[in-house]
Amino acid sequence: MFRNQYDTDVTTWSPAGRLFQVEYAMEAVKQGSAAIGLRSKTHVVLACVNKANSELSSHQKKIFKVDDHIGVAIAGLTADGRVLSRYMRNECINYSFTYESPLPVGRLVVQLADKAQVCTQRSWKRPYGVGLLVAGLDESGAHLYYNCPSGNYFEYQAFAIGSRSQAAKTYLERRFESFRDTTRDDLVKDALMAIRETLQGETLKSSVCTVTVVGVGEPFHVLDQGTVQQMIDAFEIVAEQEGPAAEPDADAGQEASAEPEPEQGAAAGEGVAPMDI
């Protein structure tokens, strides 16, 4: 990026009307490992690539549960992300305590954006170097938002942030029109395929990614490695037969969705006891 005399602090405008510190903060988001989100009418899926510093270390936590109905995936300075997640959890819990009702995600996102904006207008502060994909439920259904270090926020049907997110975005752009009415499992599958795009050649394994789901009647939770690996196996088999995944993505999606449906049902059924009261 360019170094110039207007980028020393966030309260200095450039002659072209830009705040360079804010733009540098958005660069930090682009350097973080990928996180993607997509939503249907009733569910939102967040997925991210687990990047570890070395083979010896564990990977950083990039997806946080904020409340039963809200989760957030971050890209950029994960420390900033943790602090903002703590703020979000606090806001949710305070609202729940006062109103015995979940905080609508649309309102939380605005509070978050206003908090970020403050840091773009104080000379003694710096912008948060983290982009947040906020997934949550509202009275009006499922929502996915992206919060910028600039204090802007946008609602999305699907989005990807972090390094090599453009590959995922290209995949999502091709498929997003079907997301609104798709099933929960197909949504997860699309998320995994988008993650695969960002890996660019690397094998997609459940250990390399984290997948989370929130939906109507389904509180926010992380899908366990076993379930994720099963889903990957299902569409990887088909993809191998077809060759490099480019056009056959749509076909692979359809064939794969027919197969693992009963497996998913069985896996879910074993862990859950029927309610008999």
Binding site: T98, Y99, E100, S101, G106, R107, V110, D138, S140
Partner: protein, 245 residues
């Protein structure tokens, strides 16, 4: 009360200086509120009396008010504290509306907010001297709850405050059932209000009945109940009474 001229720090809650800053006893009070769930929503009744001690001083006090789109609040106890609560709720609903985002506070949220307010004031030894009834309908779900001045709160199919608890609730326990029609609900409420009129000395014969459904709030014009005072037991009540001299 302590009338000595002792100098106590303002932070001490139990001194004459700070007494003027907090509620010790109520002055202008409203009596019972009675409410029940019926087929389409909630029905609530309250008379229009504001007593000043034992004097039935004000006879046109509206003790039930709509809150936002989905709720109805009825109050007994200190009328000025009720007006203060209405101010708090007005601000709450205003900020809720300013979001303009398709989300809105329903009766459950308002009830819990009020519980927090009442309980916090009680903890500061400066209560809002009211018993509140909060009813409403949102997205087809009916809600009816109550909060007292010490923060006790609960929901039920029928609630009452003050004397209503002793005189009206037994009637409601007998006669309430799911999916009451509007006419049946009003009949039961009028029965309760009539008993209260006969037996509660702070009741006045001028009442309103309010209903809240998915469509909204309607508060009736004030009207009076027919009463019967010709029971033979009321004529010559002292005949046959055993005196001491």
């Amino acid at each position: 009360m302590n009338f000595t001229a002792s100098k106590q720090p303002e932070s001490c809650l139990l001194g004459p200086e700070s007494d003027s800053q907090r509620t010790l006893y109520p002055y202008v009070t409203g009596t019972s509120v009675v409410a029940l769930k019926y087929k389409d929503g909630i029905l609530m009744a309250a008379d229009m009396g504001g007593s000043y001690g034992s004097t039935l001083r004000y006879k046109s006090v509206e003790r039930m008010k709509p809150i936002g789109k989905h709720s109805l609040l009825g109050a007994s106890g200190e009328i000025s504290d009720f007006q203060e609560i209405l101010k708090y709720l007005d601000e709450l609903i205003l900020y809720d509306n300013m979001w303009d985002d398709g989300n809105s506070l329903g009766p459950k949220e308002v009830h819990n907010y009020l519980t927090r307010v009442m309980y916090n004031r009680r903890n500061k030894f400066n209560p809002l001297w009211n018993s509140l009834v909060l009813g409403g309908v949102k997205k087809g779900e009916k809600y009816l709850g109550t909060v007292s001045m010490i923060g006790v709160n609960f929901e039920d199919n029928h609630v009452a405050t003050g004397f209503g608890n002793h005189l009206a609730r037994p009637i409601l326990r007998q006669e309430w059932h799911e999916n009451l029609s509007f006419e049946d609900g009003v009949k039961i409420l009028e029965k309760c209000m009539r008993v209260l009129l006969y037996r509660d000395r702070s009741a006045v014969n001028k009442l309103q009945i309010a209903k809240i459904t998915e469509e909204g709030v309607t508060i009736s014009q004030p009207y009076s109940l027919k009463t019967y005072w010709e029971f033979s037991a009321f004529e010559n009540p002292t005949q046959g009474a055993v005196g001491s001299w």
